[in-house]
């Protein structure tokens, strides 16, 4: 299971990469594998400011649909438009090309709630 050490994680199987005051968010390799072939990702919250744990979108696999949760509070700045035409990128490249949204972090203290790779690994094993 691929778990890059430079990322943070949540119990909802999302990863977060911090770049200054921006968080780049996607789902983990474990999550994409559990979901199976992803066929549609819906995010219509760009421009909205959402609280930590609020739903910012949904991810549809062939068999199931799952909500996507804000790992931290903030404004949704951008949705990865490449995923509109190629949602399978999340299966193929979950940590790079398959990023889902960028969020402007509004409360740095929430970053302390995030898990490191080892703590996340303990959850999925």
């Amino acid at each position: 299971m691929n778990l890059p050490g430079n990322l943070k994680y949540t119990k909802d199987h999302e990863w977060i990469k911090i770049e200054g005051d921006v968080a780049i968010i996607g789902i983990t390799d474990f999550a994409q594998n559990e979901l199976g072939d992803i066929v549609y990702i819906e995010v219509n919250t760009v421009g909205e400011t959402l609280e930590q744990e609020e739903t910012f979108g949904t991810i549809e696999a062939v068999k199931t649909v799952s909500d996507l949760f804000m790992p931290v509070s903030g404004e949704v700045l951008e949705f990865n438009e490449k995923l509109e035409g190629a949602p399978e990128t999340v299966n193929q490249d979950p940590y790079e090309g398959g990023w889902i949204v960028k969020v402007k972090i509004s409360d740095n203290s929430e970053l302390e709630d995030l898990l490191d790779a080892d703590a996340y690994k303990a959850i999925i094993e």
Binding site: G36, D37, V62
Partner: protein, 363 residues
């Protein structure tokens, strides 16, 4: 949870295993889309050993099967298979199943895994005063579905008996991969052609290996239940528990073609269903395509342009072949005509859809 004799092989091939109707079954191997495509274009093998096999034998076999089955078994002869259902006595369906005609004193009924016990109890009850011999061979019988346009060509390598020209919905009992008395039928649940092979459990693993080896040059892959579902849904085939159940009638489900009101076919609930057919029903099972983005799932409401609920989704997925979101559901009769605009409520939002004819996938 029950297991099939192929469990170790599935796990060795990296299958994702799940509990399905009380059986530990492979839902996916390499990925649902690639498995689906393999069946549409070449050949795939499914473990469907969870399906139930019930034998009806003896001088009263014909009488019992005719009584419980909505289709007319009088038209069958040795080697023929028929799709049908057990109507209950309240306008619903106990199960849908296949009838294999060996003789008028020997039939095999192949039923859904989730309904084996219910079907068995139903048959025992209906057999009171009839007196056919019933036996449940489900736990001793393994079943592999080899499906796809190259399936019969690949399987021909494993038997001397000619199978490539077998008409659809027929069967033979033959020696297959060195195992005697294997039942092979040109049936399936994918719309891709191919066959289903019934094997005594003890010969299951060796036959599975032989099938994979024979199919290798044709690109055979193991396929899981997830792709079985997308394949059947592209064909508009009903899935018991989703699209049909104890409360849906075969007439509502557009299964009138397997409900035969012919002379001598005095099946359970015939009068009620015949009246439904003549007078019409208030709801119909339809197929639909989503015109805007989203995927319909079971139990999502179906609405009209005014936002009034007119029905409910029973099955839905993204079609791997068509790259469109498709589904089935019941709607009030005036909305059942193909071309009708309807809306699927997806997480509080109305998404535009259109009633279309089934099958969705036309090859």
């Amino acid at each position: 949870m029950k297991t099939t004799v192929f469990k170790d092989k599935h796990e060795a091939m990296g299958a994702k295993m799940v509990d399905f109707a009380g059986y530990y079954m492979p839902v996916q191997f390499e990925g649902v889309n690639v498995e689906h495509q393999t069946v549409r274009e070449a050949v795939g093998v499914f473990d469907v050993s969870h399906m139930g096999e019930i034998w009806v034998e003896g001088p009263k076999a014909y009488e019992l099967v005719q009584k419980v089955s909505s289709n007319d078994i009088a038209v069958l002869s040795q080697g023929k298979v028929q799709y049908t259902c057990f109507p209950n006595d309240k306008g619903g369906i106990v199960d849908d199943f296949l009838v294999y005609h060996f003789s008028r004193e020997k039939y095999l009924l192949v039923v859904n895994a989730s309904n084996i016990e219910k079907d068995w109890n139903w048959l025992v009850k209906q057999n009171e005063g009839v007196g056919a011999q019933l036996s449940n061979a489900s736990d001793e019988t393994s079943l592999l579905a080899v499906q796809g346009p190259l399936a019969l060509k690949a399987m021909q390598k494993l038997t001397d008996e000619p199978i490539e020209d077998m008409p659809f919905y027929t069967f033979k009992v033959l020696e297959f991969a060195g195992v005697k008395d294997v039942l092979l039928s040109t049936t399936g649940y994918t719309g891709a052609g191919g066959c289903e092979i019934y094997i005594p459990n003890e010969s299951g693993p060796e036959i599975y290996d032989a099938i994979l080896e024979a199919g290798e040059e044709f690109g055979i892959k193991p396929v899981g239940l997830a792709a079985r579902d997308t394949l059947r849904l592209e064909m508009g085939f009903c899935l018991y528990g989703n699209d049909i159940n104890d409360e849906t009638s075969p007439i509502e489900a557009s299964m009138g073609w397997l409900t035969k009101f012919t002379d001598g076919n005095d099946f359970i609930n015939r009068d009620y269903l015949e009246k439904q057919k003549q007078e019409g029903v208030s709801r119909k099972l339809i197929g639909f395509e989503l015109l805007d983005k989203g995927i319909a799932r079971q139990h999502y409401p179906i609405k009209d342009a005014q936002g009034q609920t007119i029905g409910e989704v029973t099955s839905g997925t993204m079609s791997p072949s068509l790259k469109k979101a498709i589904g089935m559901g019941y709607v009030k009769k005036p909305f059942a005509k193909s071309g009708t605009d309807i809306f699927i409520e997806i997480r509080g939002k109305l998404v535009k859809a259109q009633v279309v004819k089934r099958p969705f996938y036309k090859g």
